[in-house]
């Protein structure tokens, strides 16, 4: 039996090593140099500028924790890499939303030779100290998804204006319930400063309507398990009182969609979620949810790669430009549910048209 265990372990380790090798081979083969350059933005140099080599354009990505939100990142970042003639992105994301874990990933990326990283911190405040450390070591940092605590040494953040997104979502819900009734708001981890902003957006929107009562705000929904429990408990206890529901967290939206799909008792509730999990999309198609506020990870990845390339080439972010650039938030409802991805990619390309206006070009250009 012992021998079998040992053999199994060896096979598992060997398999892992081969897999890892295969992974890294794939990444090193697909450098941009052998790809056709699509000259979309002629002011941005293709490939290495004078005095630089491909090594100076090795960029990494780390999201705060594993989440479906980051699924479009690899494809969009590699599309940008291909257009720019630089190596593909290297990704290292922590399993959990734990800053210590992410710090190790980020330090490992830098030890692997990355010269620039675009990332979302696992925790906005704790992550800022790591950003300081990396920038001080000469690494270009662009943040995306959600901003670190400000001020930050990150060049800029491409993110959703979470307050505005929550405010807009609440208005949509209030309109759907006829501007009268009880609304509840759901959001994520209480450690996340964005949770407070989202709650504020929901509160402010409700405050505009005298016949609307904000029944309850539920936070700390930060995992699949807790979301099913908390949303389930809420609907079971107060489902009949609730007229509108705003779920401004990925997991909260997922759980809301799951319960709405499974249970006809909640058909009277008009719900708007966030992000585009398959379950949420299914609920919108089935008419069980009004819609969802799609963020724009497509733009965040694509534009971040361009930004890192520009910074490595010597471009500098202009003084006076905002630290946080809104990458947009779009309502996906029954009318747009089938073609939202091309729509947000289209919006991304529109943003990119004027992107270089935010930067000063390198000296001599």
């Amino acid at each position: 039996m012992k021998k079998i265990i040992v053999v199994l372990l060896i096979i598992a380790l060997a398999g892992t090593a081969l897999y890892a090798n295969g992974n890294s081979d794939t990444q090193s083969e697909t450098t941009g140099s052998d790809r056709e350059f699509v000259e979309k933005y002629p002011e941005i140099a293709y490939g290495p500028v004078d005095g630089k080599s491909m090594k100076d354009y090795k960029f990494g990505f780390s999201f705060g924790g594993i989440a479906d939100y980051a699924n479009p990142v690899e494809g969009m970042a590699n599309m940008a890499a291909s257009e720019l003639g630089i190596p593909d992105i290297t990704i290292q994301t922590p399993q959990n939303w734990v800053q210590n874990e992410q710090n190790q990933k980020l330090d490992g990326l830098i030890a692997s030779g990355m010269k620039g990283i675009f990332m979302m911190t696992s925790e906005p405040t704790a992550g800022n100290e790591q950003i300081n450390k990396m920038v001080d070591a000469g690494i270009f940092i662009v943040t995306m998804g959600g901003p670190p605590a400000l001020p930050s040494k990150s060049t800029l953040t491409l993110a959703t204006d979470v307050y505005q997104s929550a405010y807009d979502a609440t208005i949509i819900v209030i309109e759907a319930i006829g501007k009268k009734g009880n609304v509840v708001g759901l959001s994520g981890s209480l450690n996340d400063t964005n949770t407070q902003k989202r709650f504020k957006g929901i509160e402010d929107a409700c405050a505009n309507y005298p016949d609307v009562t904000l029944l309850q705000l539920v936070g700390d929904i930060s995992s699949a398990e807790s979301s099913m429990t908390k949303v389930g408990d809420l609907l079971a206890a107060r489902g009949s009182e609730i007229d509108g529901l705003v779920a401004m967290d990925y997991y909260a939206a997922f759980a809301t969609a799951a319960y709405m799909l499974e249970n006809d008792n909640y058909d009277h509730i008009k719900a708007v979620g966030i992000d585009s999990d398959d379950k949420v999309i299914e609920a919108i198609k089935a008419g069980k949810m009004v819609g969802t506020m799609s963020q724009n990870p497509w733009a965040q990845a694509y534009i971040s790669m361009y930004t890192l390339k520009m910074l490595a080439d010597g471009w500098t972010y202009k003084d006076g430009q905002p630290a946080v650039v809104d990458s947009g938030s779009y309502l996906i409802d029954a009318s747009t549910v089938d073609d939202y991805e091309p729509m947000v990619i289209g919006e991304t390309m529109k943003m990119m048209q004027t992107w270089t206006d935010r930067f000063d070009p390198p000296a001599g250009r």
């Binding site: 992974n23 210590n100 030890a111 704790a126």
Partner: protein, 326 residues
């Protein structure tokens, strides 16, 4: 050959051997491994792992578990942050408050274990929630990010490539080593963990030994919380979120028995280095991020198998020697 056999018989072989192999493999395969940035970063990680490993080792040597290890760290961080930011307490007194709070948390855990008839596991599990809950109530989930610059400077201070915090961890490890190797307290803790009844009959005050052991574990959590707060540059409720599992792995990799009665300070220190190197290797070798937990599990099982093989070999050799003497 004789030397190799002797080395293999050493109880730390199961952690030293993979450590050396991994270290050499990283030097050969990854040029960035020995970069100043990476050395500093890895030492910063080792610092935290080492101290929480020692905290867990202390509880394990009593034959108990400290599941509240992360929550003690979290509450300590929050109270330090609150005292500095909201009450204007200067840095050093605030750090002292943190250490006292952490020690009291450990003391209370030990007291509940000895005074109640509830299982130590249940008490530790309950305190995990209670300490975390108190931290959430005080902070309302919002980090204290306006800490004095001295805290951040403490994290950034280096002697060459070695962070100052690493020296603090080393000093802590030496203190723990002295306690377990040379003091009566350490011997009493191990004796209590090995067999509480026998310890009682030997004249050891088991209840006070348990309280002292848990207080020491709490104090170590407090030291780790100070360093973690400095590394984050802010005091927040998430400090300690990833400590529990890591602390067990570090202590067990280092040869501390889950059943109690044996503490290996040097082993825990080496275990922390091994854990950090494994994580660093997986990233430097660009192993798919989704594979990490599975690989860590395999590494743990492998380390356990190596240790078991070593013990079997020692047993066989001893039997052989006895047979030869006959």
């Amino acid at each position: 050959m004789q030397l190799a056999k002797k080395a293999f018989r050493h109880e730390l072989t199961s952690v030293i051997l993979p450590l050396v192999i991994l270290f050499l493999a990283l030097i050969v395969s990854s040029p960035g491994f020995l970069s100043a940035y990476n050395i500093t970063s890895q030492l910063q990680s080792i610092t935290i792992y080492m101290i929480i490993g020692l905290a867990q080792m202390t509880a394990l040597s009593l034959g108990h578990l400290n599941l509240a290890i992360g929550s003690i760290g979290s509450l300590t961080s929050i109270l330090m942050g609150y005292s500095m930011q909201e009450m204007g307490v200067p840095v050093l007194p605030a750090l002292l408050i943190g250490l006292v709070v952490a020690t009291i948390c450990g003391f209370f855990q030990g007291l509940l274990i000895t005074r109640s008839r509830i299982s130590p596991f249940i008490i530790s599990l309950a305190l995990l929630s209670i300490y975390k809950g108190i931290g959430v109530v005080i902070s309302r989930g919002v980090p204290f990010d306006g800490l004095p610059d001295a805290i951040k400077l403490f994290n950034r201070a280096k002697a060459g490539v070695v962070p100052v915090t690493f020296f603090v961890a080393l000093a802590t490890a030496i203190m723990v080593y002295i306690i377990f190797r040379y003091s009566k307290t350490g011997l009493r803790v191990e004796a209590t963990g090995a067999n509480p009844r026998a310890a009682l009959y030997s004249g050891i005050q088991v209840k006070s030994t348990v309280v002292i052991g848990h207080s020491l574990s709490g104090l170590l959590c407090g030291i780790a919380a100070i360093i973690q707060t400095a590394r984050f540059g802010s005091a927040q409720i998430s400090v300690g979120d990833d400590w529990m599992l890591t602390s067990f792995v570090v202590a067990v990799l280092g040869g501390t028995l889950l059943s109690g009665g044996k503490a290996s300070t040097v082993g825990a220190v080496l275990g922390s280095v091994l854990m950090v190197l494994i994580n660093n290797a997986l990233i430097l070798w660009n192993v798919n991020t989704y594979m990490f937990p599975a690989i860590l599990g395999i590494v743990l099982l492998s380390a356990y198998e190596v240790d078991r093989g070593r013990l079997n070999l020692i047993k066989r050799q001893s039997e052989l020697e006895i047979d030869n003497e006959k």
